[in-house]
């Protein structure tokens, strides 16, 4: 019983850490402009819209976070192997990973922007100086919480994977969850906020991103404020739920039904989430209604 309570407590703690990680990850990627929405930042100068938005083209978020977390885990593992205190090792590991992240971010901004000289897009050094440090700070939160979570899974729950391998697995999962949930909010709502709300962006409008702010010119730093209103917490909930349910179903149900309990619990969870999704989808169809009047033919066939 005590073991079970301990396991559930660790699951909850890991879930909480994952929630913080997911929220920080999405905020970081939006401030730096990483992943798919960045294609528009890249495209804008080509369409004649010079801007002062950061351009952090370090692959997609899943591989990038795979590296940051695996690197933090690798260095933390190395320091722990020479008898460093675990907490200190995790902090030092995350710091080194974030240093690498910052250097990659600057080379991506300089590289992409310098390659846009044909379209007269200048390199803004003050953008580089102010935004890089802020993305590094958010990345530290995301990386440190994820690598701590991995450490807990190994030390407290007894997962067989060594720390760096665990770092790859959950780093890629973090990037996948954060980019899937967060990208549309940044890509449509933030970059194209002058286009009608409640509709997708017409393909012909690509590249016409918002470049001016309430006062002066838009800085990528404001994306942090914007993301934290919506997609950031949503990404956090997404990754937090994934980690919590993944651990919870194993810790609590695995001993039941000759080991099949965890599998059955997983299947039940999938069906529950599917029903919720169907509810969300029909709610939107009913509440928002169609964009154009549905023709009789479409309604009957």
């Amino acid at each position: 019983m005590e073991n079970l309570l301990f396991g559930i407590g660790i699951s909850a703690l890991a879930g909480a850490l994952a929630t913080v990680a997911g929220a920080a990850e999405d905020t970081e990627s939006d401030i730096g402009s990483q992943g798919d929405p960045n294609s528009q930042v890249q495209l804008a100068p080509q369409m004649g819209y010079i801007h002062r938005i950061y351009n952090k083209a370090i692959s997609g978020e899943p591989p990038a976070y795979g590296l940051w977390v695996a690197l933090a885990a690798g260095i933390a593992w190395a320091l722990m192997a020479i008898q460093y205190n675990a907490i200190l090792a995790l902090i030092v590991g995350s710091s080194v990973a974030v240093f690498v992240q910052g250097v990659y971010a600057t080379t991506a901004y300089l590289g992409r922007t310098a390659s846009l000289a044909k379209f007269e897009q200048p390199v803004y050094i003050d953008v580089l100086k102010s935004v890089t440090t802020v993305t590094m700070a958010h990345a530290f939160v995301a990386v440190f919480t994820t690598v701590t979570m991995c450490f807990l899974m190994i030390e407290a729950l007894g997962h067989p994977f060594p720390l760096p391998l665990m770092g790859i697995v959950w780093g890629i999962a973090l990037g996948a969850a954060g980019s899937a949930t967060g990208n549309p909010f940044y890509g449509k709502e933030r970059q194209y906020q002058n286009y009608p709300f409640g509709a997708g962006l017409p393909i012909s409008a690509s590249g016409d991103i918002v470049r001016y702010a309430e006062a002066g010119q838009r800085s990528s730093l404001d994306n942090g404020w914007f993301t934290s209103k919506g997609a950031g917490p949503a990404s956090g909930i997404c990754f937090g739920l994934i980690v919590f349910f993944e651990l919870w179903r194993t810790v609590l149900f695995e001993p039941l039904v000759a080991g099949w309990g965890g599998v059955i619990a997983g299947a039940v969870l999938i069906i529950v989430f599917m029903v919720i999704d169907r509810f969300v989808e029909t709610w939107a169809r009913k509440t928002y209604g169609p964009y154009t009047k549905e023709t009789e033919e479409e309604a009957t066939t």
Partner: protein, 287 residues
């Protein structure tokens, strides 16, 4: 709507880069073997240099491949290269049972065979029909495996399987052999895997655009490699003597600092303008 991918013309011929990359990386990996010959660990940093040279060559291969447009991002090419490269590289380290000198060559041969199979599959079976695909995926797999072999040699000071699986932990001053504290047992390989996977694709991915220039992209490749070397040097603290770690670390830091400042100079040269706290220049578009 995605921007068109254009690869810069000019620069060094690809065949020449292949030769420099392959031979340079092999020589540097063999230099790590001096550790075994002279019973020391201070030559470990040559492994990192081998990885950097391989990455320098791989950047050009990825550029040749991705200028055709794969339908998915540049990073995927890096992941497939390292995903198959890790298999070839770990297999090759086991060849040390026969002779340690077989390892680097075996690594190249096995990776080339695996890469050719993967390239053939993508080109012909999946109907991508990209003329250079088979060759470039084979090259990238070799680069991926050499990068991993180089960084592994740097972190452990050796590249034979027997030494990679057995580390030691010190308990109250006594060194106790431990499988969990080894390169493979602790899966430091996993970190090296991701370091290579990002470093191989980042230079071209970061510099692509209409004004991409050969020397800047290649300098970015060196910079990514040296940056990875710094972190590998930190991790080698488990396996190498203090003096060897310091040498690796100092070499990496100096080379990284040089390449980073060169990269900034080249970016400054290529950029349209280099502005500090200046507003947007309107050139058209929104009036």
């Amino acid at each position: 709507m995605a921007p068109k991918i254009e690869a810069s013309a000019g620069g060094m011929e690809h065949g020449k880069m292949l030769a420099i990359g392959l031979i340079g990386a092999l020589i540097c990996i063999y230099l790590v073997y001096l550790n075994t010959l002279m019973s020391t660990q201070v030559f470990a940093f040559f492994g990192g240099l081998a990885a950097v040279i391989a990455l320098w060559w791989g950047t050009d291969s990825i550029k040749k491949l991705c200028s055709y447009g794969l339908g998915t991002g540049v990073p995927s090419a890096g992941m497939i290269a390292l995903g198959s490269g890790v298999v070839a590289m770990l297999f090759a380290t086991k060849l040390a049972v026969i002779s340690p000198l077989l390892v680097p060559i075996g690594c190249v041969v096995v990776a080339a065979i695996l890469g050719a199979i993967l390239g053939f599959i993508s080109d012909k079976v999946l109907n991508m029909n990209i003329p250079v695909m088979t060759r470039m995926i084979a090259e990238l797999t070799v680069v991926g495996s050499l990068t991993m072999l180089g960084f592994t040699a740097m972190v452990a000071g050796t590249f034979s399987f027997g030494s990679l699986i057995l580390g030691s932990i010190s308990v109250m001053g006594l060194a106790i052999p431990s499988y969990a504290a080894s390169v493979i047992g602790g899966c430091v390989i996993a970190t090296i895997f991701m370091l290579g996977a990002i470093a191989i694709q980042h230079p071209f991915n970061a510099c692509l655009g209409p004004n991409e220039s050969w020397d800047r992209t290649q300098m970015c490749a060196l910079e990514c490699g040296f940056l990875s070397m710094i972190t590998v040097a930190i991790m080698s603290i488990v396996f190498l003597s203090f003096i060897a770690v310091v040498i690796s670390f100092v070499v990496s830091i100096i080379l990284w600092g040089w390449s980073y400042s060169e990269l900034i100079k080249l970016s400054k040269r290529d950029a349209f303008a280099w502005l500090d706290v200046k507003p947007i220049r309107e050139v058209g578009g929104e009036q």
